[in-house]
């Protein structure tokens, strides 16, 4: 079988966000493989290592720099990579068209991607790909196993969690708790340089953005930053309760 994992290049969550000319400025910043996607890639590798005959294909959509995360994916163990190179910012519904195009062309059985994107905070990609493929999907998965032609696992739902089973082909979105992604070793980083990294043009997938981003801004909420003296905890408690009642007016 063949597994397609989407890898996105995003600003490291530990980095602060900078805005330049009404847009987030990524120039010279630390960019990483989105950790939510990393769980999907790791899971694909584990399915392969569990004995199933699996080819793992990693795909990325974005500017030339996205090659870095594909190299990371190859170094972690993906068999080959596809880069749809574009400087156009595509919304998630447009991206799903490209991904579904790749999934169809490569005749994959399973698509894995992160449950939420660390840059655009979108959770829609997995379901949108599934709809285009007319496949079922499960989102926010934190346990997953392949039993023959069936996937079984556990995921988060509105009020709690649920265990599930579904037939392949399918789309699964992944999250923290699913596994501990491996670090690429130096020999594997060297080996990855020889693996196939194909470049596709965006035009061949016929995807155009439907959502236009007008502006990005950082709105910092002014905080009171009152540091209460806690030498006497009872006095501090009395002061806090007074502030909550009479300044913030949030408790009776």
């Amino acid at each position: 079988m063949r597994v397609l994992t989407l890898v996105r290049q995003v600003l490291d969550a530990e980095e602060s966000v900078r805005i330049k000319d009404g847009a987030v400025d990524l120039d010279g910043r630390k960019l990483v493989l989105d950790t939510m996607d990393e769980y999907g890639l790791e899971q694909a590798l584990r399915i392969r290592e569990s004995g199933a005959e699996v080819e793992v294909v990693a795909a990325a959509i974005g500017p030339a720099r996205c090659q870095d995360v594909l190299r990371t994916a190859l170094a972690m163990g993906a068999d080959r990579a596809i880069h749809v190179e574009t400087d156009t910012r595509l919304d998630v519904i447009a991206v799903s068209k490209v991904m579904a195009g790749i999934a169809a062309q490569e005749a994959v059985d399973l698509v894995l991607c992160g449950g939420q994107q660390a840059d655009w905070d979108s959770q829609a990609l997995g379901a949108a790909i599934a709809e285009r493929m007319q496949w079922p999907q499960v989102t926010w998965t934190n346990a997953l196993q392949l039993n023959g032609n069936e996937l079984v696992g556990k995921h988060d739902v509105d009020e709690g969690s649920a265990s599930f089973s579904l037939p392949l082909p399918a789309v699964i979105t992944t999250q923290q708790g699913l596994n501990e992604p491996r670090y690429p070793t130096l020999p594997n980083i060297m080996k990855a340089k020889k693996k196939e990294l194909r470049k596709d043009a965006l035009e061949q997938y016929g995807a155009t953005p439907l959502v236009k981003v007008i502006a990005e801004s950082v709105q910092v909420k002014e905080r009171l930053n009152k540091r209460l003296d806690t030498k006497d905890v009872h006095a501090a408690a009395a002061e806090l309760v007074n502030l909550l009642r009479n300044e913030a007016r949030v408790i009776a």
């Binding site: 600003l11 987030v24 905070d121 009020e159 089973s165 009152k226 909550l244």
Partner: protein, 315 residues
Amino acid sequence: MILLVVEHFGGRVSKSSYELVTCARQLGREGPIAGLVLGSSVAAVAGEIAFAVDQVLVADRPELAEYDSEIWAAAVAQIAREGEASTVLIGASRSGRDYSPRVAVKLDAPLLEDVISANGVGDRITAERYTYLARVTEKVEAQGTVVVTVKPGAFAATAPGRVAAEQFDVDLELPPRRVRVTGKTSEKSARVPLSEADVVVSGGRGVGSAENFTKLVEGLADEVGGAVGATRAIVDAGWRPYAEQVGQTGKTVQPKAYIAIGISGAVQHLSGMSKSKYIVAINKDAEAPIFKIADYALVGDVNQIVPAILEELRK
């Protein structure tokens, strides 16, 4: 028509549905506001939402007893098409964000996810939403028919009126269920739901133990009539149920007051609560990132400070 999908739980309309009504009314798009109720034995839900919308569309069928992404998407897209909806409004709950992308693809419409505002001018609609783990506000624009998921708590809830709108039963062509639910852990607490609470008292690793959490965090939540929240670390440790988790992989809350006890403030946690009106932080580490966004900061031992607060509140 503006179509909104009514969220309900335990036979009652969820607060988020009344927030969708507010969003629909402020949208500036023409046409009646239709509330679509999907479920099994949902007469009470339909009767309740009738006091807040212009018409109620009801699909009351046994196959709709349990949520399914494909079934929900098929139902909503069919009704949107038949009613020529200009806008489809869906609550940005776990399930709402799970099936809404399918609706957008079916309708070949743009998807605006988890919005905090939405304004229509002519055929265009602009909306704001948070990105970069809720650190950035993004303004986006789309046109024509749009599918929108609305962030819980971003709009005030509409109060029901006195006149009940007419109800219509709808026929649906539903696909078969392919994802089988083989087990479920429901974690409904007796307290006010996290996303609806005015005060959230939340605990992290600094609380020390599950027993201490009960004493300090639950104790304070009950004293102020608030909801209980928790960080990823302690949910993973098994101290608390997932339903209480606040942050990137849990719930997003914006209460009037968020009281963080023993929480250092990882960016993933902050993304779920940084929009709270007032933030109280109690932590022994004076350098903890949570203090940067705190209105009231208490540096010290939670085991001394929280009992003192409880004592003060009981005076």
